[in-house]
């Protein structure tokens, strides 16, 4: 129908993974509401359609199929889980529907997009390679760490971030003394932390889940290593909630994030305020990236001057989008070049140490 732009959102909304989907949904909803309240895009309102993926590929594909065939959407944002995104990619390609990913970190998603193959997949989310590099570099050069222990989530995100870390660590003469991965939902880290206490690591490289960081931090306090071993990596070390859980453990923590609530830009501040007012809780990273991706899409539609999916796609490839954290452009693999913010917790508050953008080195096929 003319007058509305149908936008599908595939995200886990039920089951254990709902804790990721909930924020994504709210972020996207807020952006859609703001855009519509402001009169829409080129005079057209956006209609957001939710579809539950439960975090499994089968359900994700069904969700996408339904959005495409039943609801007739031309644009899909999704999913949080990489394996779901990978499974939706060919579906979107087949149906020639624009798939904008906002939160999956598997590098393959864009290895196989753009010149890599899938023309309809775009990713507005940083790759872990850039992130791993700047964290390792900062930890070695600014903090002088050489002995590291790995404690990351056992998922493509945690595993690939560590794989990239290992690629760069030798450049900084760093070594890894122990390597552990935790399952989602894990609550007992005492054994691993005791091991780390005993093996003399200076920092724990952690690419993990936001809700697990407080547990680890508290157990660091319990084992007496808070303040002695530093957390580095990514896992919402900087949110108020996390810091409050164990201030002594998080003091000095180093994190590379695509965004953080404290980021000092008016748009970002406004978003945090509005989100908190609407949903009674502070937004997290997932909320932000979904909010931002809806805005990015709106910007592309505006630039294309029409909601025609081919035109929007072409606009996206050439876009210079001003996000709250800086300018976003897409490379020939449809991967966003995003600034990555590096911060350190000082006196219980995140303090920004710089923003970095880097190009991805794609493996030769």
């Amino acid at each position: 129908a003319d007058g509305t732009i149908k936008l599908g959102l595939v995200a886990p909304m039920s089951g254990p993974n709902a804790r990721y989907g909930a924020f994504s949904m709210h972020g996207a909803e807020l952006a859609v509401k703001d855009i519509n309240d402001a009169g829409g895009v080129n005079g057209m309102k956006i209609e957001l359609l939710n579809a539950d993926s439960q975090g499994t590929p089968v359900e994700g594909v069904s969700a996408a199929r339904r959005l495409i065939d039943q609801d007739g959407v031309d644009f899909i944002i999704g999913d949080v889980s990489s394996s779901v995104t990978l499974a939706i990619q060919p579906v979107a390609e087949d149906a020639e529907v624009l798939l904008l990913n906002a939160a999956s970190s598997n590098p393959k998603i864009t290895y196989q997009a753009g010149v890599g193959g899938f023309k309809w997949t775009y990713r507005n989310y940083p790759t872990d390679e850039n992130r791993a590099l700047i964290v390792a570099k900062y930890a070695a050069e600014q903090r002088g760490f050489t002995k590291f222990a790995v404690l990351s989530v056992d998922s493509d995100y945690g595993r690939s971030a560590i794989a990239f870390t290992k690629k760069y660590l030798p450049d900084f003469k760093g070594e890894i003394l122990s390597e552990d991965y935790y399952k989602e939902g894990e609550v007992d880290f005492r054994s691993v932390l005791a091991k780390i206490r005993d093996n003399g690591a200076q920092a724990i490289i952690m690419y993990g889940l936001a809700d697990t960081t407080p547990i680890v931090a508290r157990q660091m306090v319990e084992l007496g290593i808070a303040g002695k071993v530093t957390l580095i990596g990514n896992g919402e070390f900087n949110t108020e909630k996390t810091i409050k859980s164990a201030p002594s453990a998080l003091e000095g923590a180093v994190e590379a994030a695509a965004w953080l609530p404290q980021f000092d830009s008016p748009e970002s501040k406004a978003f945090v305020e509005k989100f908190t007012a609407t949903y009674n809780e502070a937004p997290n990273n997932h909320a932000y990236v979904h909010w931002d991706t809806v805005n990015l899409l709106a910007a592309a539609i505006k630039q294309a001057g029409s909601a025609d999916k081919v035109k929007v796609r072409d606009a996206l490839s050439k876009i210079k989008y001003k996000s709250p954290v800086g300018e976003v452009t897409f490379d020939d693999h449809n991967q966003a070049r995003l600034p990555m913010i590096l911060l350190q917790i000082e006196n219980g508050k995140p303090s920004i140490k710089g923003a970095y953008t880097a190009d991805i080195q794609y493996p030769a096929n």
């Binding site: 909304m13 990721y20 056992d154 552990d180 894990e186 007992d188 005492r190 054994s191 547990i215 319990e222």
Partner: protein
């Protein structure tokens, strides 16, 4: 080296205590219904949510939140028990699987619907570390250990000597014969169910301070942790459950230390499978001839 092993064993025992309290409720429910309760972890989750709600919304103290969490769960268990579990007496194992999976979905997703899918932060409890035996532990963990011992002593006495305890065992063995001796089977089932769910909730509330994050889907993992324990302990066996939970806790702890945390969840089932090779009916099961 040796001190690490001792420390990890102590860690394992503390973890085991948490498992033990949840698992014993599950094993008792299995006893009377002959059904694996796939929704058991959801009562753990409900207890935690109840306590979180009491602290965050009602502004109650942690101690009061324990009571709120456990009571709220028992009320839910009463409703579920009246409407569903009572009718499962004598039903085949398969329908038990479907029913409890259904209940798990309902409870979990209702909580997500009401409180949102995101994770919450649990603020109460005694998280200050203390040092005993040269190791440092959160006070809360000592509390868990003590409560676990009390719960088991109480249950052991109850199962062996009280009328409800005897009736629970009777129901688990021969439902038809219960009618003959005058045991009110649905009522025994209901009470056992409420007791089991209450224990799961208690475990949830006690661990919440150290586990910090609270979310709707947290029960599922607990259910899967509990399953190998109740089998190892010999289904329906209170004492066996205690020992099995400790074995699993310590094994997990040692594996996490010496092999890698990523293999931790596998330990339960690997231990279970190895043990079943050696004793096909669990560590402590008793069973009658054909």
């Amino acid at each position: 080296m040796l001190s690490t092993i001792v420390e990890q064993t102590v860690n394992g025992i503390v973890t085991g205590s948490v498992y033990a309290i949840v698992a014993v409720g599950m094993t008792m429910i299995f006893g009377v219904l002959r059904a694996i309760n796939f929704a058991h972890g959801e009562y753990y989750m409900l207890g935690t949510f109840g306590a979180w709600f009491a602290i965050d919304y009602l502004g109650l103290s942690y101690e009061a939140s324990i009571v709120v969490g456990v009571l709220a769960t028992i009320v839910v268990a009463y409703v579920v028990g009246q409407l569903v579990m009572r009718r499962m007496v004598g039903a085949p194992a398969e329908s038990g699987v479907l029913t409890t999976l259904g209940i798990a979905l309902i409870l979990q997703n209702t909580i997500i619907l009401v409180f949102g899918g995101g994770y919450k932060f649990f603020a109460g409890g005694y998280i200050e570390p203390v040092s005993i035996l040269g190791f440092s532990l959160a006070q809360q963990r000592i509390l868990i250990l003590v409560v676990c011992l009390l719960v088991f002593i109480g249950l052991e006495l109850m199962v062996s000597y009280t009328r409800l305890g005897m009736a629970m065992r009777a129901v688990s063995q021969n439902v038809e014969c219960c009618g003959v001796v005058g045991i009110d089977v649905p009522q025994v089932v209901l009470r056992t169910f409420m007791l089991g769910a209450g224990l799961a909730a208690l475990s949830g509330v006690l661990t919440a301070p150290v586990n910090v994050s609270v979310y709707g889907g947290m029960g599922e993992l607990i259910t899967f942790k509990t399953l190998p324990i109740i089998i190892m302990g010999g289904l329906g066996n209170v004492r066996g459950t205690f020992v099995a939970a400790m074995i699993l806790g310590v094994a997990e702890s040692l594996v996490a230390t010496y092999v890698g945390l990523q293999f931790r969840d596998t330990v339960g089932f690997a231990t279970l499978i190895l043990m079943l090779m050696w004793r096909p009916h669990g560590l402590f099961s008793t069973q009658a001839r054909f």
